[in-house]
Symmetry: C2
């Protein structure tokens, strides 16, 4: 398929746009009706660096590239916006349309419009996704910097499954489908992020590097100490230890802080959205650090666990 044919096929696959997209691909730029505040994130993934076509189908790659970008929008508590996708295609790759279809199916489930793109040639498959989210006001969004001493630390879902799935895939071992799917097809928590923001979380981040590292971002940006109880970590079935679950990363669950008086509101959000929420730590006064504690209170050093 030539480049122009491919672009035509992609446009046909994307189908009609929601009404806020006034002009999609085909002009010099896309035109979209705005809300008051724009939230934007850009991410690139490269074959052989961030994923492998040996273990991921083109549709998996498209899904995951978009999902991980949308996870950043979820972590801001913004509503779904648009995706703009640039793909670098190596000469021998014929999965571009399948890749875009993997994105399209995910985008459609979350009300995200794929409103523009670029297709070019290059030495390796690389995908850059720019995603937008919209909000009515900047103070409805949730930043990394809002955690306060006294807040509780909560997390959605179960941790470590994606990392375990990747480890089994890389070892060539047979892996339970649930773990492999956790790795290949993470689901961005857009609706949950919006609901958590409305319920009063004070800071939030999506778990791309693991609780140990990502709680550090909240602690540093907020200027607080965050204490994590390792024994309370929600470890995914099939994952051998809380230590692995705290460091494996790639889970794309949401880690957040919230004042104790909002705990019930958060648990109602969890029930309404069908999300598991686990309370796994506390925010204390302090200088931008994370302390991981074993039952009994001893400090746990996770620095020997390399990020997968």
């Amino acid at each position: 398929m030539g480049e122009l044919e491919l672009i035509e096929a992609i446009r046909a696959a994307l189908g009609p746009y929601p009404s806020r997209v006034l002009t999609g691909p085909g002009d010099d730029a896309s035109v979209v009706r705005a809300d008051n505040v724009l939230v934007t994130s850009i991410d690139t993934v490269v074959d052989g660096v961030h994923f492998s076509l040996a273990t991921h189908s083109p549709a998996d790659v498209g899904h995951k590239a978009l999902a991980t970008a949308l996870s950043d929008i979820a972590a801001m508590g913004a509503g779904p916006g648009e995706a703009y996708v640039a793909v670098v295609l190596p000469p021998d790759f014929d999965g571009a349309l399948e890749l875009v279809e993997g994105m399209r199916d995910l985008a459609a489930r979350h009300g995200v419009a794929m409103a523009g793109g670029d297709v070019v040639s290059g030495p390796a498959l690389a995908i850059t996704v720019t995603v937008t989210g919209w909000s009515g006001a900047a103070d409805r969004l949730v930043y990394r910097s809002g955690a306060q001493p006294g807040d509780l630390l909560g997390v959605t879902g179960e941790l470590g499954g994606s990392g375990k799935g990747l480890r089994l895939l890389n070892a060539g071992e047979s892996a339970p489908e649930s773990l492999v799917q956790r790795h290949r097809r993470p689901e961005p928590l857009l609706a949950t992020g919006l609901a958590l923001a409305a319920a009063g979380v004070t800071s939030m981040i999506d778990l791309s590097d693991g609780v140990a590292t990502d709680a550090g971002h909240l602690a540093r940006e907020s200027g607080v100490l965050i204490e994590v109880r390792l024994a309370d970590l929600p470890v995914a079935p099939g994952v051998e230890s809380a230590e692995f679950a705290a460091t494996a990363g790639d889970d794309y669950e949401l880690l957040f802080t919230v004042p104790p008086d909002r705990r019930d509101a958060i648990e109602r959000v969890a029930a309404t959205t069908g999300t598991r929420v686990t309370w796994l730590g506390d925010v204390r006064p302090g200088g931008g650090l994370v302390e991981i504690r074993a039952p009994g209170g001893a400090l746990v050093d996770l620095s020997g666990y390399e990020h997968l």
Copy 2:
């Protein structure tokens, strides 16, 4: 320089943000105060495909990647917005900071904020730029589809200089600095595009592929015939022929249509913004085609001129 050090150096180089950028890099996503309508374009360039580090400095590459993306915003008649930049760095490349500084200097001149980015490793230098522009209303923007029979065809600046500069660079010949600069450092016409939109142009496109091809986009999207008088093409000094100037591309001037009664308004814009405007054709009823005509009216076939 490690990746984290590089990201820190880039942030330091970018300096303070305009007030509409509420949150820059450092959170899950950037947050920007919106106008009513968002205009967005995404473009990727790859070393060895779209440019060569043999003939372009890292700062040239950064400048041009951003300039060509912003040219799409100019062609919509939108005001300057933000740039989100993802860079794939090969192992042996140490020009990343210089590349970003080339972008920053251009962005600053046009009131564009570099509000977010990503830095990853990969096999070849590749830069994806997502640029936004803002408008108070969608009907103040200019689309490819608005040309009407009876309109005049106009173009800014002089054509063919960038293509000639590239040809000389590729041949290893000494080239006049003006032509080389036209190729390495095109200037996006953001202020001119805004002013042309306000003065009533009916369709507009930036010249990336040359008049012959880009007029075809206007003709096709508008459902009209566009006639171009080859003898009236504004050929850049040092360029040998109007045929070359019509097909070389990479000029990033603006090609537009306008009703005859707006001709004076356009010429006032030209005088005010210091832009040369040349009237080089007419819009007629017809089916989406471009006719290039020699003096005397004979049809000229430019299909033998390959896009450079």
